[in-house]
Amino acid sequence: MATARFWRENPSRYNLKAVRCGNCGKVFFPPRAVCSVCHRKSIGKMQCMNLKGEGEVYSYTVVHEAPSQFEVLKPYVVAMVKMDEGVMLTSQLIDSDPKDVKIGMRVKTTLRRIGEDGPGGVIYYGYKFAPMKV
């Protein structure tokens, strides 16, 4: 595996770089060249933006059987989160007892270590979710 495979995604993994269709306003994450609603009318009109990083849990699970990369974390919570901009993201939900996680709870993204490129390989980072203090 090549390090480039991870760092080329950094703008979205670190700063939630997304695009908004200049024609209909729909937001896409990660960025795309074409809007799936407007098709050709959107070409050249996809505007870069960063998501604010806040949203609510749409669904979640507690993972007990994990890939080797995540073995030390298990059990861990994975959630699909509907961001306030309307687009949905999937990642781990941390700093929360699995029993307290609910559909609809408010969360925000936080930059964390996601994994490494094999044993002793480069560490890569990205967003996880954490509960928002109300």
Binding site: Y60, E65, T90, Q92
Partner: protein
């Protein structure tokens, strides 16, 4: 487009088949199907092979030529094509073979599907399966394939009040059917409590909510209908085979409690066949997880959205119910050697329509449906077959 028939079927047992290699499996299923159709090698115009990930499971790509070779067809130099769409690879290979004959390009084709999953450890095998989802934006963050389906289950429970017991009942029912199938990986009935108490994989799903890792292969022979009766007295007509796609990542959809790809493929298949879901007596649906069958029976139009759990608990999808779903045992009990699965579904439907399904025979089966899914619904194939 001309009419196409299935004139031969063959399948291996599914399971942990340590003494059989990928090529053994592909060859066995292919030869059974060719013998069933009483074909000579020179009758075969082309081969299509459904396979998801031989490159990672057995470190061998180029598997269509491999299977043609080991099936004794190397000197016939027929076109041999591999088809990949994750879990839908087999169903898609079937559709490609159907199109090749329907178009008039070929008269007789063999469609095979095969996967050898137990040559690698189960943790790695599960990682390979997860690559059917979006590896860059789902899996890399820790969302395994079972985790994505668990989130579908959680959302279905939240939106429709589907219960954990209703979801688990899918496994109980499919094990009951699998117990009647001598080719099934699991041939023992289980209790609801077994599913509910099984070790957690991704909550709310446990081990007994997940299809197993399997080795296996299946094959069918397709022929133009005008020539079919010279090979068999019981040709089965393919009345439609439709395919649809959707976003690769589950989170890019407006709803995760339906698979739009299944709905679109089913709607198109029923339109082409001029049939409705009420005309179907049996269906093989893609139950890679228990929740997947609940989505499937709703999205295919057998039950209203949100009622799949209740219908399952009420026995409407059992042998003898309103529509017999997964009489083979489904992916859950029959086993799920990924690339083979979609072809094995066709084998089961054809056996049923010929009246050769033994103890699990659906009486007076006239129209059967096969439903094969890739990833979390990024590909779906729906095929309808009837007694010719």
């Amino acid at each position: 487009m001309r009419e196409v028939a299935v004139i031969g079927i063959g399948d291996t047992k599914f399971g942990e088949l340590w003494d059989l290699s990928f090529r053994d499996l592909g060859m066995q299923a292919g030869l059974l199907a060719v013998n069933d159709a009483k074909l000579a090698a020179e009758d075969i115009d082309a081969l299509y092979v459904g396979n998801m990930s031989a490159g990672r499971f057995i470190e061998q790509e180029h598997v269509a030529a491999l299977i043609a070779d080991y099936s004794g067809l190397a000197r016939d130099n027929i076109p041999a094509t591999r088809i990949e769409a994750a879990g839908a690879s087999g169903g898609l290979a079937f559709r490609e073979g159907y199109l090749a004959v329907a178009s008039g390009m070929h008269d007789i084709v063999v469609v095979g599907g095969a996967e050898k999953m137990t040559d690698v450890g189960d943790v790695f095998a599960n990682e390979i399966q997860s690559s059917a989802a979006d590896t860059q934006w789902e899996v890399v963050f820790g969302a395994t394939f079972p985790a994505l389906h668990a989130m579908i289950a959680r959302r279905h429970m939240h939106e429709f009040g589907t219960t954990r017991e209703q979801i688990a009942q899918v496994a109980v029912k499919n094990h009951k059917h699998g117990a009647l199938n001598p080719k099934a990986q699991f041939q023992r009935e289980i209790e609801l409590s077994t599913v509910l108490k099984s070790p957690q994989v991704a909550e709310p799903l446990g081990v007994f909510d997940c299809a197993p890792l399997s080795d296996g292969a299946a094959a069918v022979v397709l022929c133009s209908m005008d020539k079919a009766r010279s090979y068999t007295t019981k040709p089965v007509r393919i009345v439609a085979s439709s395919q649809a796609s959707d976003t690769l990542a589950l989170h890019a959809r407006s709803s995760i409690t339906s698979f739009k790809s299944t709905q679109v493929a089913a709607r198109e298949a029923f339109r082409l066949a001029r049939k409705t879901p009420a005309d179907v007596q049996l269906a093989e649906v893609h139950d890679n997880f228990t929740i997947s069958e609940i989505l499937a029976i709703e999205d295919l139009g057998f039950f209203p959205k949100g009622q799949g759990g209740k219908a399952t608990m009420d026995g409407e999808t059992m042998l003898g119910g309103k529509v017999a779903v997964n009489t083979s045992g489904g992916l859950k009990a029959r086993g799920d050697p990924i690339g083979a699965t979609g072809v094995a579904q066709i084998v089961e439907i054809v056996q049923q329509l010929r009246g050769e399904a033994g103890r699990r025979q659906v009486p007076d089966a006239l129209l059967g449906l096969a439903h094969n899914v890739g990833g979390t619904g990024a590909t779906a194939v729906v095929s309808l077959l009837e007694v010719a």
